[in-house]
């Protein structure tokens, strides 16, 4: 993966945040997803740019809806969204909204924003694909580690292994922070890998910013549902945002924008 692409995606996140102005943007949890989204869209996932509804596509579900800026940045890299499109981030009636809004043309499979629902949608999609005898498409569900506080995630996790959904892949963006701070302080969900394993999943723990490790984990053949517990850094790549809960949702001013872009251009991530 060309580092230039990852840098460009982070700059695009900053551009979206700058467009959003005083409304702020979910920078931290989008920056932590950049490598994951890049590997999914530019490497692992099957899709047809001429027909984003193509039955043979892989399905991506952004259960962690507030991380969607990283998906928009990846969709721009593959040419589904334009620069003009992403600059409408959070504008009234924009298709590039603060949380995903179902849009088949963009390959946004479901609306989300209310945490804890995407894995059930993924289980339903994966079961439906099997019923249709579509055995080649896979379903990817992106979850936050804070999101895993929700009980419905674990209802879905149990059902995925019960139904043997080897076409389902969950990715937990384990950036260690949620709205109110450190996940260990808010609600400890440590031993994340063991929890998933106990629910009958095949678990891979990787550095969520290592594109090769992500590629390897996301292309692994599994007879069970597969979860990638991706250790990430919230705010990754921009020093003043990294590991700073204030950047869960923060305002990027022109000055901060320039500072952050300069930092990315200097390549000291």
């Amino acid at each position: 993966m060309d580092k230039e692409i990852l840098k460009q995606m982070r700059i695009d996140l900053l551009k979206m945040a700058l467009s959003a102005g005083a409304q702020g943007a979910h920078m931290g949890g989008s920056l932590s997803l950049v490598e994951i989204m890049a590997v999914l869209y530019l490497d692992v996932m099957k899709f047809n740019l001429q027909n984003m509804k193509d039955e043979a596509r892989d399905r991506l579900i952004m259960s962690k809806g507030h991380g969607v800026m990283a998906q928009y940045a990846a969709l721009k890299q593959v040419g589904v969204l334009s620069e003009e499109d992403i600059l409408t981030y959070k504008a009234n009636d924009s298709k590039v909204a603060a949380h995903p809004s179902l849009n088949e043309q963009l390959g946004i499979e479901f609306s989300s924003g209310s945490l804890g629902q995407g894995l059930s949608l993924g289980v339903g999609t994966a079961l439906a694909l099997k019923r249709k005898n579509n055995l080649s498409s896979r379903v990817f569900v992106v979850l936050g580690d804070g999101e895993c506080d929700e009980g419905s995630v674990w209802e879905a996790a149990a059902s995925a292994s019960h139904f043997g959904l080897n076409n389902l892949v969950a990715i937990v963006d384990k950036n260690g922070l949620q709205y109110d701070g450190d996940t260990k302080v808010v609600l400890s969900m440590e031993n994340m890998a063991e929890k998933w394993a106990a629910f009958g999943w095949n678990v891979k723990e990787v550095n969520g910013h290592d594109v090769e490790a992500l590629h390897e984990a996301l292309t692994e053949k599994s007879s069970k549902p597969l979860v990638i517990v991706a250790k990430t850094v919230k705010g990754k790549g921009i020093s003043f945002m990294e590991n700073n809960p204030q950047w869960h949702n923060g305002v990027v001013s022109q000055k901060l924008f320039e500072q952050a872009v300069a930092e990315l251009e200097a390549g000291n991530d």
Partner: protein, 324 residues
């Protein structure tokens, strides 16, 4: 296809609304091969044991995990399936309310959510199992069609209609086994089109579900006491049949009867429709009012709530004589 013979109508009535739903389910894969049946540890209770035997690949049990079931239904619906999801009405509508909002309301996914034992029919299990709020919850979510069949034959019709309409549906099943028969023979069931079961010039009673039969009986009592009562089966609570509402403006008193809270249900729906009219008949809302009743048998609870034919008739007669 389906034989609406007097014998079958009797059998369905004996089975009750859950059993009748299970009978209807047996016809669905023939009507639409995309139907799938989801349940939350209530396969037997939903009358789906025969369905499971006949169509094992069409049935998915998610255990006691209703929120996940509704989410999974969303996934199936998005992929072009027609998912039915069954559980007790109170858990269907309230435990899964956020999944309903996002999947059925926001995304307009054509999930068919089946609320079993709505109202007081399993009230012996206590207030946790009573469902007196489900219509209020579901009515406030955009896009959702709400059906409340009056008897077991209507339950068969409503289930098939739900499978055929490309919209999210909440199918509210009320009553219990040996459900009284309202429809003695085949009839036309059209979503959004109320059915006038009896004409009458003084009072117009609009009822849903289990209260249609009790309203017909109440109307008989009223007739004996010199009050002529029309009875309308408003099997589709949303979208409401506006023509049918216009039609009852000719009567001197409008009454709505539901086995549901008087807040947010059929009474509210009709009142909202009438609110802006300068001149209209007064509207009596009959339903469950006040605190949750203590656990008790269905007949006892109906009596306490004033929902027996005698009590419905007496309340209507008193109100009619007082204000009309």
């Amino acid at each position: 296809m389906i034989d609406y013979s007097p014998m079958n109508i009797k059998i369905w009535s004996r089975l009750g609304s859950c059993g009748a739903f299970g009978q209807a389910a047996l016809f669905l894969p023939e009507i639409n091969d995309k139907v799938v049946m989801l349940t939350a540890d209530l396969c037997t209770f939903s009358g789906l044991d025969r369905f499971k035997l006949k169509y094992p690949d069409y049935l998915f049990n998610f255990g006691i995990a209703e929120q996940n079931m509704v989410g999974v239904a969303g996934g199936f619906a998005k992929e072009g399936f027609v998912p039915f999801a069954t559980t007790y009405a109170t858990f269907a509508s309230m435990r899964c309310a956020d999944q309903i909002k996002v999947n059925m309301g926001y995304m307009n996914l054509p999930i068919k959510l089946v609320g079993l034992t709505a109202g007081l029919s399993v009230g012996v299990l206590g207030a946790t199992h009573m469902s007196l709020e489900d219509v209020a919850v579901m009515r406030s979510v955009p896009n959702v069609v709400i059906l409340s069949p009056a008897d077991c034959t209507a339950t068969i019709k409503a289930t098939i209609a739900a499978a055929q309409i490309d919209a999210p549906v909440y199918l509210r099943l009320s009553g219990t086994m040996n459900n009284p028969i309202v429809y003695k023979e085949d009839f036309d069931f059209e979503i959004g089109k109320a059915i006038t079961l009896k004409e009458g010039k003084d009072v117009a009673i609009i009822a849903i579900g289990s209260m249609v039969y009790n309203s017909l009986k109440a109307a008989e009592i009223l007739e004996q006491n010199g009050v002529s009562a029309k009875v309308v089966d408003m099997h589709t609570i949303k979208p409401l049949d506006k023509e049918a509402i216009q039609d009852v403006l000719k009567n001197k008193l409008i009454v709505t009867v539901e086995e549901h809270s008087i807040v947010g249900g059929l009474g509210s729906a009709v009142a909202e429709e009438l609110a802006l009219l300068k001149q209209r008949p007064p509207h009596l809302i009959i339903g469950v009012n006040g605190a949750y009743p203590h656990a008790a048998s269905y007949p006892y609870l109906l009596d306490q709530a004033g929902l027996t034919p005698e009590k419905i008739a007496s309340k209507i007669e008193n109100t009619y004589k007082e204000i009309c």
